[in-house]
Amino acid sequence: MNSTIPNGTPISLRSWPSSSKPQEQDAISVFFERINREQGGLRSITEDGLRQEIAEAEEGKAGKQDEGDTEEEDEEDPLDRKKELLMARDEMLGHIESAYHSASVTLDFISLLLSKDTPVQATLSMSPALKEIVPLGTLGVDRLQAPRIDKAQKDDNKRIAKGWKIQNINKTVDTILDSATRLEKEIESETKYWGEVLAISEKGWAVCRIPSEKQTLGVRFGFPEASLTFKNQSLAALRRNADGSIALDQGFAGSEPQVLRVRVQVNGVDTGSSAMPNAVADTAPVEAFILQARNTIFSSELWQELNRESRILGGLGVQAVDDIIVLSFNSTKKIVLDLVPLNDSTPLSSQPDDRLAEGIKLSLNLLLSFAHRQNHRRRTQPPPPISGRKRQTPSYNLLRPIITRLNHQRSIDALSSLLSDLRSIFSSASLSSNAEFKITHSPPQPPPIPNISNAERTVLALTSSLEATAIFKITPTTTISVVSQTAQAPAPTIIYIITLNPESPLTVRFSAPAQPLTTFTAVKEYILHATSCALAADHTSRSPSDNEIHKSAPGKSGWHLVVQPNVLRKIFEGGKGKHLGFHFDRKEGSGLRFRVVWDWMRFDLNDDSNIMLGKEEERIRGEGVYEWRSKRRQGGKEWEDGEGEVVRSLGDVIEGAGRWVDV
């Protein structure tokens, strides 16, 4: 098939651009171009604004006719001056041209004149055109009569010349003196200016030339790793005042100084606030202004990044409402972040949670600097392979490390309170010889990033991969260890890894969960149940052979395990059996509770008939309940109401439970 277009050439399917005028006027791309040119972009256009502009234009037209002449004169003035300038320039050029022409004509004339007498010199100064037109030596000069200058005229001439010379010398002296004073002043102010610039530069600020004005110096107070919008605002010009001192000129980006404010609120009432510096007075040295500008740009960047991060942290209790960000600290306290301008506000009185607010603000600042450092690291490393998708920088980790740390603290607290409650129960049940617990914090392992500096290592150590281990020894044979680890990505979570020691009888009956647990409630339930099972297992008798115990045997012996791990069973002669159950639970407000329940078995082992359970049974002799509670420090109340007896030990209770009682 013949085709004029070879295969493989890309074909553009756009139509020819139409050149007919009416269509051009209406094409939307032309509209956009015009809007961008005239109105400065689509962003600032609103319907109301456009109507206002139309109204103003109409008013302007009407008003113009009233104002009339003065306006026209004013408008013409700048036009006139331009025209004047151009006209003057043209005039000057014309004058110079004519002067040049007359001078060259004169030169030719004189040299032609002299060509008779000194042809060599004359030809040197003659223009080539003249040489062609007129041959040499055609003009001659001769004296007709002696010069009639007599002595009086000579004296006169001398005096005139002297006077003129003196005048000129005076004029020259005046001009030179003027320019000398002007230059001296200039040098003075320049020296002062440069002195101050040097002082600024020695403080550590980077001084550079401003790209738009080549002769003005500026100082860069921004951060090289900040995002683009802030980098554009981070240059300020150092302008020289009339006397040489420096004024900082931030251009259109200069705004009032702002700072981030952290407040701690309880039920809407402020209980703490971070410190806010005062705005710099006008008479302060330039460095103070530069510092303030840098703090402002840092705070505004921090605010922007906090907002960006809070949008993805909604599931962790972070809310961004209006102009504030609210973060829940614990059940009562909330942390409120907002950006406030620095006025000369009255200093707030110190409040109890000021330290907390200040600490959080400082840590946010540090985390932003750390994020800058990570940006720098990312920039200096070789870039990832090019792919079609556009990569965006992930939002900085500002609130997440704080939340991680809080969660970690909270989980350690919960663990230690649970374990200490258990220990107090054990001690009240006289089991304290067996139970101990210990919480250790393992040193954090920062991820192996090469060339990490100590400062970065510290930040990482404080916020990521925090680990704590709690080891709880229930009985001499059973030890539970709980490792709580924090993870930051994708969301701050804590996982709990529970392990049992291998020789514990629990590994068979109620072993540790294979997967790490994610909530503290699950951990608590595991620990409580495991404790009860361990205690049950501890009190079994060692003789598996007898099924039936003599009725007069001591109460403690004869218990053996059943399928449910926290229940023990004892069979007496004659088939009757007793159950002994161990339960731990936690009640709100009254702490941990340990219950031991013993009752008769509801069905005979020798009897195969099914007995209906579930009816309300009255309390028969030989059954009972005993409880131990963990003492909560509640204003000195040690004993629960109604409990006046001495607390019995677990061994006694089991002894009592296992005794045979005739029913």
Partner: protein
């Protein structure tokens, strides 16, 4: 125009030379043009010569001022170069400085304080 040491030195030298020569010309022009040992015929001190001298003196004085400003410009360029141009060593001012050691100590302090807070204020944080 490349900024080299030779260039800058040339510019300063030529500036100074220009100022001196202009000044010399000025002084020469301001003389009356009388030579020693010549006949006092006054032919040298005519009005035309005086006029020509006047114009030359204006030119010379303006050139003197320009040369002075030129030198001033040169000093400013030198100052700029000194501040942030190639005269500054590479890598000055970067690095961690004292922040490294401080950060380790601060980290330890913060960790200790957090653990102490956790251990003692058990009931404050709630659950």
């Amino acid at each position: 125009m490349e900024v080299t040491t030779a260039n800058l030195k040339d510019r300063s030298d030529s500036g100074v030379a220009a100022m001196l020569s202009r000044f010399r010309n000025l002084v020469a022009l301001s003389a009356l043009g009388k030579k020693d040992g010549q006949k006092d015929d006054g032919t040298a001190a005519t009005k035309e010569v005086a006029a020509a001298h006047a114009l030359s003196m204006e030119v010379e004085s303006a050139a003197l001022v320009t040369a002075a400003e030129d030198l001033l410009r040169l000093t400013r360029e030198l100052k700029e170069l000194w501040l942030f141009g190639p005269l500054r060593g590479i890598g000055e001012g970067e690095g961690e400085g004292k922040m490294d050691e401080d950060s380790v100590k601060v980290g330890e302090l913060v960790e200790a304080m957090l653990r102490k807070d956790a251990a003692s204020a058990n009931s404050n944080l709630g659950s």
